[in-house]
Point group: C2
Amino acid sequence: MRATLMHKAHDVTVENVPDAAIRQPTDALIRVTRACICGSDLWPYNDLPETPGGQPMGHEAIGIVEDVGSEVQHIRRGQLVIMPFGYSDGSCPICQEGIQTGCPNGGFFGSPDVGGAQAEALRIPWADGTLYPIDVGPDDALMPALLTLSDVMGTGHHAALTARVRPGAVAAVVGDGAVGLCAVIAAKRLGAEQIIIMGRHESRLALARDFGATDVVKERGQEAVERVRELTGGFGAHSVLECVGSGQAMDTALGIARPGGAVGRVGVPHYAPIDGTGTFFRNITVAGGPAPTRAYIDELLPEVMDGRIEPGRVFDRTVDLDGVPEGYRAMNEREALKVLVTP
Amino acid sequence: MRATLMHKAHDVTVENVPDAAIRQPTDALIRVTRACICGSDLWPYNDLPETPGGQPMGHEAIGIVEDVGSEVQHIRRGQLVIMPFGYSDGSCPICQEGIQTGCPNGGFFGSPDVGGAQAEALRIPWADGTLYPIDVGPDDALMPALLTLSDVMGTGHHAALTARVRPGAVAAVVGDGAVGLCAVIAAKRLGAEQIIIMGRHESRLALARDFGATDVVKERGQEAVERVRELTGGFGAHSVLECVGSGQAMDTALGIARPGGAVGRVGVPHYAPIDGTGTFFRNITVAGGPAPTRAYIDELLPEVMDGRIEPGRVFDRTVDLDGVPEGYRAMNEREALKVLVTP
């Protein structure tokens, strides 16, 4: 089968690899019908060292179940399923508590062991715990929106929940990538009254406004902090949704949280340890992590299905598998916001 | 009047100082009827550099209002009041949101500007926002318990709230000082099912059991982490109440939180910046700070008054003002758990 491998920074290829296959009785095998490129894939795209054999890429997918192992009970052949970016057994206390990305038997797609989703097919560990069947056709017009439940929409929702967005809250979203834009959707549906989007790409900021952002801050660093303070009566935001993961983004996030506020971080951390003294004296909560998107599908799916939320609008380009390397380039150069892949 | 000053580590004296007096029209003046020594006072007791003029000590008090400024509206002469360890205007958005310790016009007692509570009298900024009148006599048997609402009981409650203790939760309390013991009370009343107290002083651990602790962990460091994992099915605690502030305590607190869990920290931080990557991948929330004890009196006072909670039991020694230096020594050497002062 064909699959995407990253060999080192800026070196992405689509190659013939051994077919994905069931290994464990709890596995399923899916044929990927939709995948995409994630903002987090741009971290290795810029800093992956030489990796012999290549790193399988892609962790977001919708697919059709082609086969299931002998112990799979609920997932059946022929079902269309959402594949969250992490796999999880679904039965341990951590999964039962809704933190599937902390499952002691879990892990993440886009790794040598399980392969990546920017491919024709994929082995799914713990199929019953991991996959979420959906009752639509594989070419439904909602497919882009449904695909976001694999990662970016659920991740934006996680940022909003862990930043404790509540009705009437002042929320600030750091980053105007696909996750940041989904975080705006999430903050809006949780009732934030003021939603400040922080970024500098006009087309993305326009989409953020469509999604519910009330204010735009294009400044960075200390200027950004001061601008947010101005917009919030001098106090800062109750809820800061950190959707980048860089040191500057995290510094800004901590700087714009008001006393008693919370930073919900979902950007993969590329920053130094967090100041524990300033955050203490300002009673700032620092929360977040890899979003348990599997847990959030129940809540978000109905709103996707009836069009109340439209996270599929973050996709602005579609490629087939051969177009994946060009998709990386386009996203990395900010020509594309988020690239959909139809293998 | 007489007041306690700390000149450098291990050098505490009670001296004649200028009388406390009203300076601002929003001030009140109280005569201190009960004060105490705080575990946090032991940090400067061990590391305060030479401080010319001395640092006024004490931030917990109950007192009688002797005078009020011309703009004070709700606090009246003759009232018995609880003085939270921080002062706050009570009217800004941050105070209205219940984060009085983040009030932009606020600050903390035990500072050169406002003086300390281990003294005969004290100036209270923002009397209306700061003080909480109580309707008991100044020698009521509940006085020790009421005094804990100034700091330690409210601080334990803050640890429990910020660690998100919920009915059925597994809670772990790091530290068996007065705050840690109050944190046990707080975790119990919020419905924790398992409460692990971590400390090594037999008499304190016995009190912790009386307050609701179900398990005791005397180990430290990695051994403590492993012991807590054993006691929690291998997963760790949902809620960790960090009541010390040392590097070892914080490392332990982070180590024993389960994926998706929260650390509510109330020990004044004496540790390095907090790892932002491990906490991210485990979805650990780090929260807490100086407790807005003013906000918590409404909720806790009725339970103190009817004896449902007995935080006054943390006091095991009483001294007059002259006995304060000896009180510091006794607390520092762990001969006394918490020392009550009757000026």
